[in-house]
């Protein structure tokens, strides 16, 4: 076992994993974090905590991870390289490990122009791939980037994000291969609406033998309305929402928006379960965490397996 | 009291200058406030010409070139227009006012139009008043054209 985390145990046992996401508040109120996360207890194998997502200042991911850990939910610490140099990144990983956080997602991070502090300096001392390699070295060799020996290596399951829908498409599977060679154990994908394209991607990944080496967790997000679908389609970089999906939401009408979105989501998850190489689902129900239990039940993934 | 504005009119040979000539032969009246400067094409107009005109005492500068699409040198008048736009922004920001510089387009046969434009622009500048206030620049306070060489 690399980390001994619940997520690792579920994946190693060959069970279909479930993860979800929690965004910390723009303030100090720990109760907000507890409220969001409490919906997920018992329904997920790990809960991602975002790191100043879209460059908007929020309670730190690590702090929020500790709050949900206290509730008995396994945290998945997200760390972006946008705001911290290698010194700070390594320091934070040592801190997270000291607190028993066993899952990490290594990310580039959205450019600060998207946030409320476009004038901030961006760091990007390392990119996400170099960050993965760094963590692997810390964990498996007990060494820092400087070569110094660690008094205690962090035991973490190393994750990364992949986006099969970003360009250039031909290169995306190579990027997955690179992340694997850098040392990644699992990946979570950008939310999937274009199943054809995702199946194409997984096909290429299987051909290269990559699915033997990494656990792919397919990302999904429930749509609530036509407006949401259109917004994500046009305004969010790297998002692929086929016209058919937008039309389906439109046809459902305003009152039935959420219902239709959930139906679509559950159908998507059922299809994803059948794709060879997909080892779990990552449900990003942003600001709608309370819907996760219903989803997990509907797709037959409740109760979560006992892997103690 | 009515002040007599000094207008510099940069006119291209192929259209505006010819139109001015035609206005003359047609005995059309237009204000004698204009000092016409002949250029082969309004595209030759440099921002410096406009600024030097103002420094030399002009209260307004008009650039007159061919109709758009009919410039003898194809895009010269487009270049002139862009430079006039830049001059307008500068004039506004230093307190002279964007209205003191203008771009006009006309063809060689439009003698009447030339006379009208000249009249309109002169009246515009007259109502705006002197460019640099009532006090004329003191000699030596600004370096003049000769000194700048």
């Amino acid at each position: 076992m690399k980390s001994g985390s619940r997520l690792e145990k579920v994946l190693e046992a060959g069970k279909f994993a479930v993860t979800a996401e929690c965004g910390p508040p723009q303030g100090t109120d720990a109760e907000i974090v507890r409220k969001k996360a409490s919906h997920l207890k018992g329904y997920v194998d790990a809960c991602n905590v975002t790191d100043n997502q879209t460059s908007i200042v929020r309670m730190s991911s690590m702090a929020a991870c500790l709050i949900i850990k206290e509730l008995g939910i396994e945290p998945l610490l997200q760390m972006v390289v946008r705001d911290r140099n290698r010194i700070a990144l390594q320091s934070d990983i040592l801190g997270a490990a000291a607190h028993g956080i066993g899952n990490l997602l290594c990310l580039s991070g959205d450019h600060q122009i998207f946030g409320q502090d476009p004038g901030a300096k961006n760091v990007y001392d390392l990119d996400s791939m170099q960050f993965i390699a760094l963590v692997k070295r810390m964990r498996d060799e007990g060494k820092l980037s400087s070569g110094a020996d660690l008094a205690g290596a962090p035991r973490m399951l190393i994750g990364a994000a992949i986006n099969p829908f970003a360009d250039p498409f031909e290169f995306r599977v190579t990027r997955l291969a690179k992340k694997i060679s850098a040392g990644v154990d699992f990946v979570q994908t950008q939310c999937i609406y274009n199943l054809e394209k995702f199946e194409q991607y997984m096909h290429q990944a299987r051909d290269r033998g990559l699915t033997e080496k990494v656990h792919v967790l397919a990302g999904v997000t429930p749509l609530k309305s036509t407006g949401m679908a259109k917004y994500m389609k046009t305004k969010v970089a790297g998002m692929d929402i086929p016209d058919g999906v937008v039309q389906r939401m439109k046809d459902a009408g305003k009152e039935k928006g959420k219902e239709e979105g959930l139906d679509l989501l559950c159908e998507t998850i059922e299809r994803l379960k059948k794709i060879d190489g997909v080892r779990g689902v990552h449900i990003m129900a942003i600001e709608w965490e309370e819907i996760v239990p219903e989803i997990v039940k509907r797709v037959g993934l409740y109760p979560r397996p006992d892997v103690s | 009291m009515s002040f007599d504005p000094k207008i510099v009119a940069i006119c291209c040979r192929y259209c505006a200058y010819s139109a001015a000539d035609l206005a003359g032969s047609m005995r059309l009246q237009y204000p004698d406030n204009l000092r016409i400067i002949l250029v082969p094409c309004t595209g030759k107009t440099d921002l410096q010409y406009i600024l030097t005109s103002m420094e030399s005492g002009a209260d307004g500068v008009m650039i007159a070139g061919c109709l758009e699409g009919n410039c003898h040198f194809e895009i010269g008048n487009f270049r002139a227009r862009r430079r006039v736009e830049r001059a307008k922004v500068l004039f506004e920001r230093i307190g002279l006012g964007a209205e003191r510089i203008e771009m006009y387009n006309l063809s060689a046969g439009m003698g009447t139009t030339f006379a009208r434009i000249a009249g309109e622009f002169t009246e515009r500048i007259r109502s705006l008043g002197p460019a640099l206030g009532a006090r004329p620049p003191e000699p030596g306070a600004t370096t003049t054209l000769e000194e700048r060489k």
Binding site: D125, D127 | Q48, E55
Partner: protein, 222 residues
């Protein structure tokens, strides 16, 4: 070359305050090529300043000069005979030039008339874009001649990130994705396999992060 852009006229006027006599020094190097600080721009800026100050009933006298460069000591000497007679020098050279003037004329006020923007190229007349971040450790041979530090908004060495869409960077449709450019170039060169290897962490100490830099060539010292 170094690309700069003239500061807004309001800022320049505020900077020079009530100065009555100034030298306006341009540079015939890079800033001439990007039409920001050459002889022509000296003439135009001087006219604009005189007109603005005249309008404000606070006239100014300007001595216009376009030096060969402002980054070599020899070329700054022409200022020495007369600079003391003026309230200061407004330099529209790049930041290096402005600083060098200040270093060589410690008792004279120096104002920067330009904002120095980047090291770049002329894509076409009137359009300049950034190409080099002077990181001090060039990797252009690994990326088909396209700089990941400069052309990628996140300076990724193993890009692109997940925000690359239709060849554009997530920050703006006007910014090409640097890694898409690298990918396309290596594809055209038939060298896509170069992208299979993970490029390791960069040593940023050769860039500005390591502190202000200096190069000495013993073989060239007099």
């Amino acid at each position: 070359m170094i690309i700069g852009e003239q500061k807004p006229i309001e800022q320049i006027l505020e900077m020079i305050g009530d100065a009555r006599r100034i030298v306006l020094a341009g540079c015939r190097g890079c800033v001439t090529v990007c039409s920001a600080g050459g002889e022509k721009e000296v003439g135009i800026l001087a006219s604009v300043l005189r007109l603005a100050r005249e309008k404000a009933q606070n006239p100014i006298e300007i001595r216009e000069v376009a030096l060969e460069r402002q980054c070599d000591p020899e070329y700054l000497e022409p200022l020495r005979p007369y600079l003391d007679e003026y309230d200061g020098v407004l330099s529209i050279a790049c930041g290096a030039g402005v600083q060098f003037v200040a270093e060589h004329y410690k008792k004279n006020m120096v104002w920067p008339g330009l904002n120095t923007n980047f090291i770049g190229v002329t894509e076409k007349q009137g359009v300049w874009t950034e190409r080099c971040q002077s990181c001090g450790d060039c990797v252009l041979h690994l990326t088909g001649g396209i700089c990941p530090v400069t052309r990628c908004s996140k300076s990724l060495f193993n890009g692109p990130c997940g925000g690359s869409s239709d060849g554009k960077c997530e920050i703006s449709k006007d910014v090409p994705c640097g890694w898409q450019l690298i990918y396309d170039r290596l594809e055209a060169l038939g060298r896509l396999e170069m992208l299979e290897a993970v490029i390791p962490a960069k040593d940023w100490s050769t860039s500005r992060d390591g502190g202000p830099r200096k190069i000495i060539r013993e073989d060239l010292a007099v």
